[in-house]
């Protein structure tokens, strides 16, 4: 980044840095994803047929989880997304 800006930018150049990722530490008993997932489950929006404990994982453990899509209205994914099941 520094090399590119040093080589190419001048006072008329607008430099914009964007990212689609960020970092936060997991502080507490569960990750943010787990917390949101717990809320969805407790309120009946997310129903699993089978689900092992997945600890701090933030992505759906698609090889191990079996979601009951007929009863599921919403899922959580990657900390920041909640997807709505429009067919459910």
């Amino acid at each position: 980044m520094g090399e590119i800006v040093d080589a190419l930018a001048d006072e008329d150049t607008l430099v914009v840095v964007v990212s689609d990722h960020g970092i936060i530490g997991y502080r507490g008993e569960m990750s943010d994803t787990e917390l949101v997932r717990k809320i969805l489950i407790e309120n009946g929006y997310l129903v699993y047929r089978e689900r092992p404990e997945i600890g701090f994982a933030t992505k759906p453990q698609v090889e191990r989880e079996i979601t009951d899509w007929s009863k599921t209205k919403a899922i959580v994914h990657d900390d920041i997304y909640i997807y709505i099941n429009l067919r459910g």
């Binding site: 980044m1 090399e3 590119i4 800006v5 080589a7 190419l8 930018a9 008329d12 150049t13 607008l14 430099v15 914009v16 990212s19 990722h21 970092i23 530490g25 997991y26 502080r27 701090f56 994982a57 992505k59």
Partner: protein
């Protein structure tokens, strides 16, 4: 970056306004290209690329996940073998994809009477014509090989790293980087040869691990970081080269290095999710190195 303008805007909007763009791996997946007035370098995703011949691969003399097995045997028909204190051994690396293939011959010698320690890479079974000689932990120089099959012959760039060679040669592990075609990943097509000639071969993606799942190949964190460094530095060098040579109004650069790092390392760096304090310290060091 935008030149001579103060507002942020999208590439598509600027292009429609007649502005020139340079897109450096922006923003995957973004192939085939849609721009007509500018330059695009790649734009494929971080786990596969439509221009690679194959992705990264690991060869191993023992059975292990996500590797291709290689068999070592006594040398046959090799010429100009350097002095070896143990019987020289050989194997063959079958490179490429199902359709496009190339072979490299590998000679293993004991150069110092302390066990096998050198791996000689050569197209022919002639050590005088070798491409490179590797010790454990070293990378070969970049090479361009012809990959042939299905009536096609395509040039691809790659480099090898000797990951492991035990003294008795029971354990031999060799990693090769993603093999990229020398063309096809830029618009206009003829642009591709310029960064290759001036800043080096294009490494579009690296092997990495996420949540225990291997993407491409995995040869440990040191190799992962070395691949990331090349990938990242190439992007900076190629960007400087193209942006200095060609006119542009908007320059988009996408580096996936922080993303690879987050996927592979960050959970082991956070003290709350690392197995131990030692692990956290070691992986935080890797995080700092990437940034």
């Amino acid at each position: 970056m935008t030149q001579g303008r103060s507002e942020q805007n999208s590439c598509g909007k600027q292009l429609r306004a007649g502005k020139k763009c340079i897109l450096m791996k922006w923003t995957g997946p973004q192939f085939p290209v849609t721009i007509k007035n500018g330059i695009q370098v790649d734009g494929c995703f971080c786990v596969e690329c439509c221009h690679e011949i194959p992705g990264p691969k690991l060869y191993s003399s023992v059975e292990e996940l996500h590797s291709e097995r290689i068999q070592l045997k006594s040398v046959q028909d090799w010429r100009n073998i350097p002095r070896s204190h143990s019987s020289p051994l050989e194997t063959v690396l079958k490179l490429g994809s199902r359709e496009l293939k190339a072979l490299l011959n590998v000679l293993i010698i004991d150069s110092q009477d302390k066990g096998y320690d050198k791996v000689i890479i050569s197209r022919e079974k002639d050590a005088n014509k070798c491409i490179d000689t590797l010790s454990v932990g070293s990378w070969s120089k970049w090479m361009i090989l012809n990959f042939e099959g299905c009536g096609k012959s395509i040039k691809g760039t790659l480099r090898l790293k000797l990951i492991e060679l035990s003294e008795d040669a029971t354990y031999l592990r060799i990693y090769y980087s993603q093999i990229m075609s020398v063309e096809g990943w830029t618009y206009p097509k003829e642009i591709a040869k310029e960064p290759i000639e001036n800043v080096g071969p294009f490494l579009q993606r690296v092997g990495y691990i996420q949540g225990g799942r291997i993407y491409g190949a995995w040869a440990g964190y040191d190799t992962f970081i070395e691949e990331l460094e090349y990938h990242h530095e190439w992007l900076a060098r190629a960007t400087r080269y193209l942006a200095k040579k060609y006119d542009w109004d908007l320059l988009f650069v996408h580096s996936h290095a922080p993303d690879y790092m987050l996927d592979s390392i960050i959970r082991r760096a956070d003290p709350l999710t690392a197995v131990s304090e030692e692990e956290s310290r070691e992986f935080l060091r890797l995080v700092a190195k990437v940034f």
